[in-house]
Amino acid sequence: GVFLELDQDVSIPKGWKHLERLSVNEDIMLTFVLKQQNLDILKEIFYDVSDPDSVNYGKYMSLEQIGVLIQPSAETQKVVQQWLQNHNIANCSSVITKDFVQCIMPVRVAEELLPGAEFHRYTNGHVSIIRSPSLYTVHSDLAKHLDFVSGPHRFPSEKMALKYYESKWKAANWQ
C-alpha cells in the first residue's frame, strides 16, 4: 500500500481519552478526496479575477462551471467507483464538483479499504469521535487518484477557543 498522509500527526491530543476499539459491524463514514484536474488553470483564473489591473477582475465563475473545469478525470471517477463497488459499498454521495465522495460502511470494510487503519472511539468528555491511531494506506492503483481520505485522522481543533479573562488581566495590568 501507499501512505497518502505519511506526515500526518496521529498522536492523541491533550484532553482526549481512548474509550474502545470499534466492533467490526459498526458503521463509519469516510470521505474520499479525489484528485482534481486543471489546477494550474484554476490558479491562473483565481489570480486573474482577483487582480484589479486585469480585464477579468470580478468575472467570477459559478460552482457548476468550476466543477466542469476541475472535476476528477473520468478515469479517476471510474477507478474509485469500481474500488468501492468491489467492496460492496453502495451508500455513497458526491458533491456538485464531483471531487469528494462520502460513504458509510462497516468498520470491517473500512479497515479492508485502508490497510493500516484501526478505528477507535475517543472522547473529550463532551462528545465522542472515531479516529485511527495508526496511518492508513491505499492500494498503489488508487494512490494516484486520491489526495487523501478524511475520517481516520485529525482530532477537531480546539485551539482557537477565546481567551476569557486575559483582557481583564491586561486591563488591570495597564491600570
Partner: protein
C-alpha cells in the same frame, strides 16, 4: 471612557456612522462553527437590545446551514454572530454549523463539502479555526487550500483568524526551538486577520499589537507574488528580527490585516460577559466591514470583492487612508534564551503581527468601493 469593546466602540473606532449599514437586499455574510459551538437566537436578540443602539441592525440570523446541537451556547459562536452583525449591520447573516454529523467526520471538511454543494453561498465568510501546520499532512493542507481557491473564483472572500499564540513555538530538540505557524491562516488563498488592543484599554485610542496575535511565515506554502515586496520591505527595514533559524523566510507571511481582539462584551446564555478576547473576535469584525463594502459595490452594479489580497497589497503600495497602520508592540513566541518570549514586532506598513493594519471604513470604502 468605556468598560470594554461593544458594537458602538468598534463602529466609532473604525469610523462607521449610523448610516453605514447595508441597503442592498442580496448582501450576505456568514460565520462558521465547528465542534460543540452552538448559538442561541435569544442571545443575539438580547445582545442587540443591550448594545445595538445607534445603528440600524438585524437581531436574527437568516439561515442556519447544518445541524445546531442543543445545550449551552458557546462563547465563540455567540461572539462571531454578534460582531459580524454589528459591523456588517443590516446584512443577511448565515451560520454554518458543522459539528460532525458522524463520529468519523472532520467538522472542518464537512464545512468544505457544504460549500461545494451549494450553488449560492454568502460572499463573505468569517472563520475562527486553526491548527498548527506541523500537526497536519501536506496533502491535506494543499487540498484544503485548493478549495479556498475554488471559493475565490466564485467571488467569495474568506477570512481566517490568525491564531492566538503569537508566533507559536515548537520544541525541536534540546535547546532548539522554532516558531509554529497555523493553518489555514497560512494559506496564500485566504485573508488572515490578526489582533490589536487599544493603547489605553478604557478609551478609544489608537491601536497597538495584541501580544496574542498570530503571525509568521508558513513552512508549507511558498510566499505568493502579491506580498513579496511588502515582506521584503519589512525584513530589510526592521532592526530587531528573531534569529532566522526560527522561521522560513520564503514562506507565505501572515496576517494580512487586523482588528481589535481584546476586551469584548458578548451575551452568552442570556448573560452579558466582559473580558472576551482573541483573533476570533477581530475576524468577524473585519468580515462585517468587507460585507458592507460589498453591499455598496452591489448598489453600483459591481461584483463582490472576492479574494482580497492581490488588491489589498497593491493598494497599500499607494498612499491612502484605508487602514490604520499599527506600529507598536510585539507578539509572543518561544520562551527561551534566544528570543525570550518575543516573536515579531509591529512596524510601519506591513508586519507579521498586524498585517497592513486595522480598517478605517470611509478610506477602505473609497479604496475598494469602485
Amino acid at each position: 471612557f468605556h468598560l470594554g469593546v461593544t458594537p458602538s466602540i468598534v463602529r466609532k473606532r473604525y469610523n462607521l456612522t449610523a448610516s453605514d449599514v447595508a441597503s442592498f437586499e442580496n448582501s450576505s455574510q456568514a460565520v462558521s462553527q465547528f465542534l460543540e459551538q452552538y448559538f442561541h437566537p435569544a442571545d443575539l436578540a438580547e445582545f442587540m437590545k443591550l448594545f445595538g443602539g445607534g445603528f440600524e441592525h438585524r437581531s436574527q440570523v437568516d439561515r442556519i446551514v447544518g445541524t445546531q446541537g442543543s445545550g449551552k451556547a458557546g462563547l465563540e459562536a455567540s461572539l462571531d454572530v454578534e460582531y459580524i452583525m454589528s459591523t456588517g449591520a443590516n446584512i443577511s447573516t448565515w451560520i454554518f454549523s458543522t459539528p460532525g454529523r458522524h463520529e468519523s467526520q472532520e467538522p472542518f471538511l464537512e464545512w468544505m463539502l457544504l460549500l461545494n454543494n451549494m450553488s449560492s453561498i454568502p460572499l463573505v465568510q468569517s472563520i475562527s479555526y486553526g491548527d498548527y501546520e506541523d500537526s497536519l499532512s501536506v496533502a491535506y493542507m494543499e487540498r484544503i487550500s485548493t478549495e479556498f481557491m475554488k471559493a475565490g473564483v466564485r467571488g467569495v472572500t474568506i477570512l481566517f483568524s490568525s491564531g492566538d499564540d503569537g508566533a507559536g513555538c515548537k520544541h525541536v530538540s534540546k535547546d532548539v526551538n522554532v516558531f509554529s505557524p497555523q493553518f489555514p491562516a497560512s494559506s496564500p488563498y485566504v485573508t488572515t486577520v490578526g489582533g490589536t488592543s487599544f493603547k489605553n484599554p478604557f478609551k478609544i485610542t489608537y491601536e497597538v499589537t495584541d501580544y496574542i496575535s498570530g503571525g509568521g511565515f508558513s513552512n508549507v506554502f511558498p510566499m505568493p507574488d502579491y506580498q513579496v515586496q511588502a515582506v521584503k520591505s519589512y525584513l530589510s527595514t526592521t532592526k530587531k528580527l528573531p534569529p532566522q533559524t526560527y522561521y522560513n523566510i520564503s514562506g507565505r507571511a501572515y496576517p494580512d490585516v487586523a482588528a481589535l481582539s481584546d476586551n469584548y462584551w458578548i451575551v452568552v446564555n442570556r448573560v452579558p460577559m466582559p473580558w472576551v478576547s482573541g483573533t476570533s473576535a477581530s475576524t468577524p469584525v473585519f468580515a462585517g466591514i468587507l460585507a458592507l463594502i460589498n453591499d455598496r459595490r452591489f448598489t453600483k452594479g459591481l461584483p463582490s470583492l472576492g479574494f482580497l489580497n492581490p488588491r489589498l497589497y497593491k493598494l497599500q503600495q499607494q498612499k491612502n487612508d484605508a487602514l490604520f497602520d499599527v506600529t507598536e508592540g510585539c507578539h509572543l513566541a518561544c520562551i527561551d534564551d534566544q528570543v525570550q518570549g518575543q516573536g515579531f514586532c509591529a512596524a510601519p506598513a506591513w508586519d507579521p503581527v498586524t498585517g497592513w493594519g486595522t480598517p478605517n471604513y470611509p478610506g477602505l470604502l473609497e479604496a475598494l468601493g469602485n
